[in-house]
Symmetry: D2
Subunit: 188 residues, 4 copies
């Protein structure tokens, strides 16, 4: 069961770059970096997505999970899954990317509503314990993103938290390095 302080889960209708759908409960125990973007958002294309690609590459030796979230809240017809697929191909994006589920009665998709995002790009960092560490709309400086990620990665997993080991990505299903000890002792 997820406590109230936990972040809302992602509501994703389609995944790219991963054979296994991701969800936050399964990723508990790991730090998660989410870049919410739209493929026709200039600041996402020029800044946010290249930054996310650098994060994916430069933190590859940690157990950080990088996720792109396509939060389409305008021009819906122009940014459907097929368009996104072509975009991902042309821009050579390799991290897992989920399509935020469209809402029935609002242009704002489901996850975007749950988090109360103000627009794109939005950067979200979730700690090992499943709580929100960072959530902000706009362009972020690389120095700060690096510092926030290091802080989150350095945080030990609370003993009462049962890490979930199913955090698979397109790179495979690695056992989180920082939770090896608590995993062995297990929880009741």
């Amino acid at each position: 069961m997820i406590a109230d302080t936990q972040v809302p889960d992602l509501d994703v209708s389609h995944w790219f770059n991963t054979s296994v759908p991701l969800d936050l409960p399964k990723l508990r125990g790991r730090v998660v970096f989410i870049h919410a973007f739209q493929m026709l958002c200039p600041a996402c294309v020029s800044h946010g997505l290249p930054q996310t690609q650098r994060v994916q590459r430069l933190f590859r030796d940690t157990d950080l999970q990088v996720i792109g979230l396509h939060t389409v809240f305008e021009h819906h017809a122009a940014m459907g899954p097929d368009a996104l697929k072509a975009f991902i191909h042309e821009y050579r994006l390799t991290f897992p990317i989920g399509v935020d589920t469209a809402s029935q009665d609002s242009p704002i998709p489901s996850t975007m509503q749950r988090y109360g995002m103000r627009g794109t790009p939005t950067t979200i960092i979730i700690g090992r314990d499943g709580t929100l560490r960072h959530h902000r709309f706009g362009i972020e400086d690389d120095l700060l993103v690096g510092a926030w990620l290091a802080d989150a990665l350095a945080e030990p997993l609370p003993e009462t938290t049962a890490p979930n080991l199913e955090g698979c990505t397109s790179d495979g299903c690695a056992i989180p390095v920082t939770t090896a000890h608590s995993m062995e002792t297990g929880t009741p």
Copy 2:
């Protein structure tokens, strides 16, 4: 009638940012700068389109006609006119943009075939006399583009060429400044 040395005309199925369709015969007497691009082409988005916007702005006091040409030869479903419309809106593009007419039996659209373009971005410069001055695939240096445009703009209109005055753009329908004299005297 267009002589053999004239460039092929544009075959455009839809125009944005202009209330009047453009065609090269009507633009004779003016220099034309064409940026052929695809909205999902990274080098076009990061380099070619910003360069074209700067050309539009920095040469606004000349009679240069800037044209964007959306030459979609891949991911057709993702780059239809509606998607392009959203793209133009989000990237604040203000120069006239034509959609290269799709081919029946080839992924390569019509104008792209006529010119034998190798891909996107492609830069084309057409002289006042309607002949091709520059046609190359790839990213171009601003210094060279500036020099090519100045060379083309400095070229006087051949006396035997009847300039066409209907070169309207979204900015209005200005009389080409460099052809004012020959316009008055007319041609037999």
Copy 3:
């Protein structure tokens, strides 16, 4: 007394942007970021020094001490203290900058020799306990620098280490935040 695992101290002949000379023993308890540069080193001017300025600005709410070290090992006549003074003025550098003391019998200045630096730019990060955490020649990515600094800043001060409170900069002589507790207990 400094243990063998401690880094060598700086050997500085002249300081800019600080009224009080800095030295590493006095800075123990705080994290120190050192950017070793030469004013005529292109990679330092285009990358290293702007990065160091961003570090100074973005980490201003921590007790990080940023230090520039002018390690001249070539063109000595062109990069004397007066030239450096003009350079600092023109480039609006605000962090403390020390001139690495020239060697009598070598073009390599003193601190550069002590640390075995391979050239400029070189980035050095020293932990609260006075030991070396990072030392590398070349350009560094902002994401990584941010992460290294956060890791170093998150490290608690060892209880056996007496923090030295005299770490003054041009901004004043702030009490290190991480040592606030021991300070409070030490006053009536």
Copy 4:
């Protein structure tokens, strides 16, 4: 004899990157691009000098003469000829660079005074006929610089102007291409 409409000549105390001193009367018949800079001027280092290097490279097939002019009007002690020599070496500058002659009674050097320059960077373009085509203080856009140079290069040499053949550079002493005919007839 130089007519009143001619630009003032350069007053240079020392040349780098050329075995033969350059002067404007000798360069008549060719277009001259002058970048006035100071080695400790940030906008010159980040923008003007890289632009001048690109001009040198991209216009190498024309008879354009590129000249750097070191117009030191502040921090004189820090920017003497030895410092400039080291700077030229480190920044790999290859075009001819002259040191503007210091004034006896003013911090403003001689050529800077003659032209009434307002600061650095300043861009000057001189036409084949020796008259001033462009003179402006500040950063210039590559597109415009390219256009100005093309315009100047396209200008034919006035028949009454005797081109001077001694325009040597570090690349050698090439015969100006545009003046080849008059040269042949003009020599015994």
